[in-house]
């Protein structure tokens, strides 16, 4: 029917007070605004320049100190204080150093609800689509405007449907599916668009898997990526005792730009080779490439399930000599749970360095910078030249399983060999 809508069209319609369609330019209200220590100081400065009469709603403005943990120098400590002062004057909520990564904390602390629009001054805000919420990355001016008015301008995106069929084979994880899709769509394949996940394969993905998938869709240029509201979403919401829920699912006749059919059973472990995230191929193509540093963590793969996958491998096999392993739990809660489960003990005994919860070495903002000529296998989401702080290093991206196996073998290895 002509009135049928995609999830993105529905969520935006609910926030505009009128029915909107792909292509419309609108001003919509938002439910939550987030900034990090990478984007917050500039947002505060621009907010002050806007000379607003008052602030929107301090309880809906969250600032998370996660990019520079612990603080690396006296310049950044000043920026951290700027955010703390903004919080102390009652203008935002604050998650201070060591609490964790924004995209882990917001859902973990119950800030993200189905049907919400969450804007974040961080590109991986797409992650909240896992919870049937429209998360989208914005800039600091955008955030300043939201802090002043609670609203923002948007172009309603058209949508791409990705139908997932089947289930993952042994040794394959959500990261492999995500990399496979990024390789298929390309770095701008979903630019300006919303990605919607459909199909029977979705039912078998838990929240960890969904967060990894939605997070990585940022690398296709997507404005947002959305999971349906289903039993998995329902059971996740039950832990928060919310009263009113807005479950949003696509209408049968909604229009899509493109439909991508993916048979999950046919996907094998994937690796993105330097220096583009869409430079993806089956692990066999890069297998044997020497690896000097392994990073397990980030907003893509720093959850308990990811650490468990790595611990399972590092428990039984020693790391190869000369390999540096960096483990970065995505939040304090994840860290505490990993200690309780014994994973951190396994990592320490395997010779790994465990870093405090935060973005870690993903974008070269915190400690863990590779040397010249080193190859890194990271569970992060970007492998751009210089991304980790050294333009003479090469970054490969893969799953926690692939990363742990590379640590054991000292080279890229198919994790299915570790059974």
């Amino acid at each position: 029917m002509a009135t049928d809508q995609t999830i993105a069209e529905k969520i935006f319609s609910n926030h505009c007070g009128k029915t909107v369609r792909a292509g419309d330019h609108v001003v919509a209200s938002v439910d939550l605004a987030m900034a990090t220590d990478g984007s917050g100081p500039l947002a505060i400065e621009l907010f002050n320049q806007m000379d607003p009469e008052c602030i929107w709603d301090p309880q809906k403005i969250l600032m998370v100190l996660d990019h520079y943990v612990p603080c690396p120098n006296d310049k950044v400590s000043g920026l951290h204080d700027m955010i703390r002062n903004f919080h102390n004057s009652g203008r935002c909520e604050l998650f201070d150093l060591g609490e964790g990564i924004c995209h882990q904390l917001l859902p973990e602390k119950g800030y993200v609800k189905p049907g919400n629009i969450v804007v974040g001054a961080d590109s991986h805000t797409c992650s909240y689509g896992a919870f049937n919420a429209l998360g989208t990355g914005i800039g600091s001016s955008d955030l300043a405007a939201v802090m002043a008015d609670g609203k923002l301008w948007f172009k309603i995106p058209s949508s791409i449907k990705i139908r997932l069929n089947g289930q993952m084979a042994e040794g394959v994880s959500a990261k492999d599916i995500a990399l496979f899709i990024v390789g298929k769509l390309g770095a701008s394949g979903a630019n300006y668009r919303s990605i919607e996940f459909h199909g029977s394969g979705v039912e078998k993905l838990d929240m960890n898997d969904r967060m990894t998938l939605c997070n990585m869709m940022t690398e296709t240029g997507a404005k947002c990526s959305l999971m349906p509201f289903d039993k998995v979403t329902q059971s996740w919401t039950e832990s928060f005792r919310w009263t009113a829920l807005h479950a949003i699912n696509t209408d049968a006749g909604a229009l899509f730009d493109k439909v991508l059919e993916i048979n999950i059973d046919e996907i094998c472990p994937q690796i993105a080779a330097p220096h583009q995230v869409d430079n993806v191929s089956a692990v066999s193509k890069t297998e044997g490439t020497p690896i000097h540093m392994v990073v397990i963590g980030t907003c893509t793969n720093g959850r308990l399930k990811d650490l468990a996958a790595a611990a399972r491998i590092l428990k039984d096999y020693p790391k190869a000599s000369g390999v540096e392993i960096l483990i970065v739990p995505a939040s304090r809660n994840v860290y505490a749970a990993a200690i309780k489960k014994g994973y951190i003990d396994i990592f320490i005994r395997a010779g790994a360095i465990v870093l405090p919860p935060g973005c870690g070495p993903c974008c070269g903002s915190s400690a863990g910078i590779p040397s010249d000529g080193e190859n890194v296998l990271s569970t992060a989401n970007r492998n751009f030249l210089g991304r980790m702080g050294n333009v003479h290093a090469n970054i490969y991206l893969g799953s926690p399983e692939s990363a742990a196996c590379a640590a054991v073998e000292g080279k890229i290895t198919d994790p299915r060999r570790f059974g």
Partner: protein
């Protein structure tokens, strides 16, 4: 009609925001006058020195992909660049560019070369790009609706200062 004139500096596809300004520079300062010295250094170390204010950045597809950090568009603006012409922009860079008052032109730049002299005319309904060196003319639409009003205010900060809030 607004007119921009300058020489083209050509880059390829997928120029990400980390290439525009590296995170390790951002760690040391947010002072745009300092950061502009390091613009695009990781892929073209001599660029900041070669570049003259008012020159025009020309790129391929997906310019500004990667991180949503607005500092990338602000560094371009601070370096004296008013216009970026690309085959396409990443959505976050497009937002940030408009919000920073940067003129972003989506057009076919495939045959443009570094050193080409460009003249860009902004009409109410049309943007015309004259490549004076190669004698090529390209036309495209200006940004629509509220985007044009934000750009004409000189960016989102000025827009909110003037209007107090978003007007629909």
């Amino acid at each position: 009609m607004d007119i921009f004139k300058g020489f083209a500096h050509k880059f390829g596809d997928d120029i990400n925001t980390d290439y525009i300004i590296s995170s390790r520079r951002k760690r040391d300062t947010l002072d745009l006058d300092v950061l502009k010295r390091y613009i695009l250094e990781d892929i073209d170390s001599g660029f900041a020195k070669r570049f003259k204010p008012r020159d025009i950045l020309v790129a391929g597809h997906n310019f500004g992909c990667g991180s949503a950090m607005e500092i990338a568009s602000l560094v371009i603006k601070a370096a004296g660049i008013d216009v970026v012409a690309a085959k396409s922009f990443s959505r976050t860079f497009y937002r940030n560019g408009i919000n920073s008052g940067l003129l972003l032109i989506e057009c076919d730049t495939g045959d443009f070369l570094t050193g080409d002299q460009l003249k860009i005319e902004i009409g109410d309904n049309r943007i015309t790009i004259h490549n004076l060196t190669q004698k090529i003319i390209r036309e495209t639409n200006p940004p629509g609706g509220i985007l044009l009003r934000i750009f004409k205010s000189g960016g989102l900060v000025n827009y909110i200062r003037e209007n107090r809030r978003f007007s629909v």
